[in-house]
């Protein structure tokens, strides 16, 4: 585990250098990049997508996946805005209930995976359709407009170029880092990800770990949904539908492995900075917006390929002999 932590840092460092060069490049070629407004918008989008990526990272850390992050974010945003707009529920209660609901959705994922032993991919694919279906069943695809000003004002608030929603992201990111590094449960989480069988045999509370990871994932997804609702100023039923790709892009480019055991938090942060720089840069140079999707896909492949090269060396990556395709990541 310590070795894993040490091995991950070059990825974060490499990404940081790429980020800095990218930012420098954008500053030189497009003057509007450093405008206060552009930095604010980019920072705000980044703050929300980073939470989505961290929601995936925490379940990847235990060797599982959560395909329902977007569905949870969307459902939470809808329930919160519905409560505030239609039922006149006070903001604090509505948001509190929403975040609780999101966490509960995550916990439900975790419990179902633990009980049924069904592959987390399929299970969360199933629950994502359940959550998304409930969302659309409530809204019939019509947004809840005119959420209270306190909420939408927070989504627009900034000090200079610094978006206030970023405060939430910074606090949660630091809290997650401290949890993974310091808390016993956080350490256990990485141990279960490293080897679930060994962890169970050595008496670690596997169920609690799985439920915690998925609960955190649901909570982060819920916060992301809430922040996006505040930013949009309305409860859009489509919140979260595009989150699958960025949720995996962050941790995978950042150095996470699907088999679990690593939680490259800094790598994920810098990977999401890169994704944000690419999206923003393409908008600023008036490129076709579809390039974003294409480039993020290419970036994921490049990221995992680099990881693979680091693990086995350049010569062995494309070697066909005496190899077993597709099982390299299984321990």
């Amino acid at each position: 585990m310590v070795a894993t932590a040490r091995r991950m840092s070059p990825v974060a460092l490499g990404l940081l250098i790429v980020d800095l060069m990218g930012a420098l490049l954008l500053t030189v070629i497009t003057p509007s990049f450093t405008s206060t407004y552009n930095l604010f918008i980019t920072g705000r989008d980044f703050s929300i997508l980073l939470l989505v990526a961290l929601a995936q990272m925490i379940v990847l850390a235990i060797g599982q996946m959560n395909l329902s992050i977007g569905a949870i974010g969307g459902l939470v945003a809808i329930v919160e805005s519905g409560l505030m707009v239609n039922a006149g529920t006070p903001v604090v209660i509505a948001l509190g209930f929403g975040l609780l609901l999101g966490t509960a959705c995550g916990v439900a994922n975790g419990l179902l995976i633990h009980w049924t032993k069904v592959n987390s991919f399929i299970l969360t694919l199933g629950t994502s359709y359940v959550y998304a279906g409930i969302n659309l069943g409530i809204t019939h695809a019509t947004p809840f407009y005119h959420i209270p000003d306190v909420v939408s004002a927070f989504g627009q608030a900034r000090t200079g170029a610094f978006p206030h929603v970023a405060i939430v992201t910074i606090v949660l990111t630091i809290a997650l880092a401290v949890f993974l590094r310091q808390a016993v449960l956080g350490r256990q989480l990485l141990a279960v990800g490293g080897n679930a069988v060994a962890a169970a045999l050595s008496g670690l509370p596997v169920r609690r770990v799985i439920v915690t990871a998925h609960g955190i994932s649901g909570f982060f997804g819920a916060v992301a949904g809430t922040l996006l609702m505040a930013q949009l100023g309305e409860g859009q039923p489509t919140i979260g539908v595009t989150w699958i790709l960025p949720s995996f892009a962050g941790p995978i480019i950042g150095g996470a492995v699907l088999s679990g055991g690593s939680a490259p938090l800094l790598g994920t942060v810098f990977a999401m900075v890169l994704v944000s720089l690419i999206s923003d840069g393409l908008i600023l140079v008036n490129a076709n917006p579809y390039w974003v999707q294409f480039l993020v896909g290419a970036l994921i492949l490049a990221g995992v390929l680099l990881g693979r090269i680091r693990a086995v060396g350049l010569r062995d990556v494309f070697r066909l002999k005496s190899t077993v395709p597709g099982v390299a990541e299984q321990k």
Binding site: K117, L258, Y290, L305
Partner: protein
Amino acid sequence: MIATRTAAVRTRLTELRGTGLLRTLGLLALLIVTSSFWIFFSAFAMGFTSDFNLFFLLRSAAIAVTIGFAQMVVLSIGDMNLSVGAIGGATGMFAGWLMQVLGVPPALAVLLALALGTTLGFGNAALVVWTHLNSFIVTLATASLITGGMLILTQARPFSTLPDSFIAIAQVELFGMPVAPLVLITLAVAVLLGLVYRSTSLGREMLATGANRRAARMSGLSVGRVVLVAHGLSGLLAALAGAMSVAANNTASPGIGSDWVLSSFVAPAIGGTLLSGGLVSVSGTVLGGLLVATISSGLLLMNVSNFWLSVFLGAVLLLAVGLDRITRTVGGAAS
């Protein structure tokens, strides 16, 4: 060494087949459930048995089954393909472009689209084989590359002036029955796939690879070749489903395939195909696709909000994989 490994693969496959009786019962149960829905909807959903409705139902079932097949063939080797929808969408647009802009005859356009789909599948396989990356990550990334590339090239503009002879495969009634020609195509594909898995060495090699990839490799199987074939076949079937959807929609639109992820897993999962590989059920996938199409059509006619269908399908998938799990445990082949 090789002998013991071969024995290991055999044992695993025998274990999986040992669930034969249970699986036959499972198929029977699926048949009963599907028939019950038919009886229920015939009684309570106005117009369910009309020629008009049956035509659309069977057509959408045929497309759902083909999408399911595209996923089933990679599941059989223990991989998955998240780019099924991306390939279906991109090849559908390609076929539309060939026919509308270049005036290519439909038969040739479809052949070229199928070739493109197969090539994209080979691309997935090459990445999986060469880089040892998990098929989930590879196909998540290539799905984004393929859809992104398609949108960049087409500017998301649909092709809606397609030749009548092409549209016909989804729009005419055969022999005065409410059956579109593409239903027969799906049935033909089902028969072929059934033959491949039942009586060819290729089918057995795919299942052996899915049952235990390492052991299959150790016993001398060219796993790389099997992976290549399975992913290529998946791309081919995805392209076929894409062409069918284009014909059914009258238009090659860039949205085709964007919602295939769930349906691609639902039909095989309900039908008893093991998601971990080594065991497929072609007839189960056919029944699974038919069940989904039946429920969608019936709920639509009964004016149940389309959105609850999403909840329902999610629940059906969860139920199916739960049963799958139980079957495996009871069959003594839990892994």
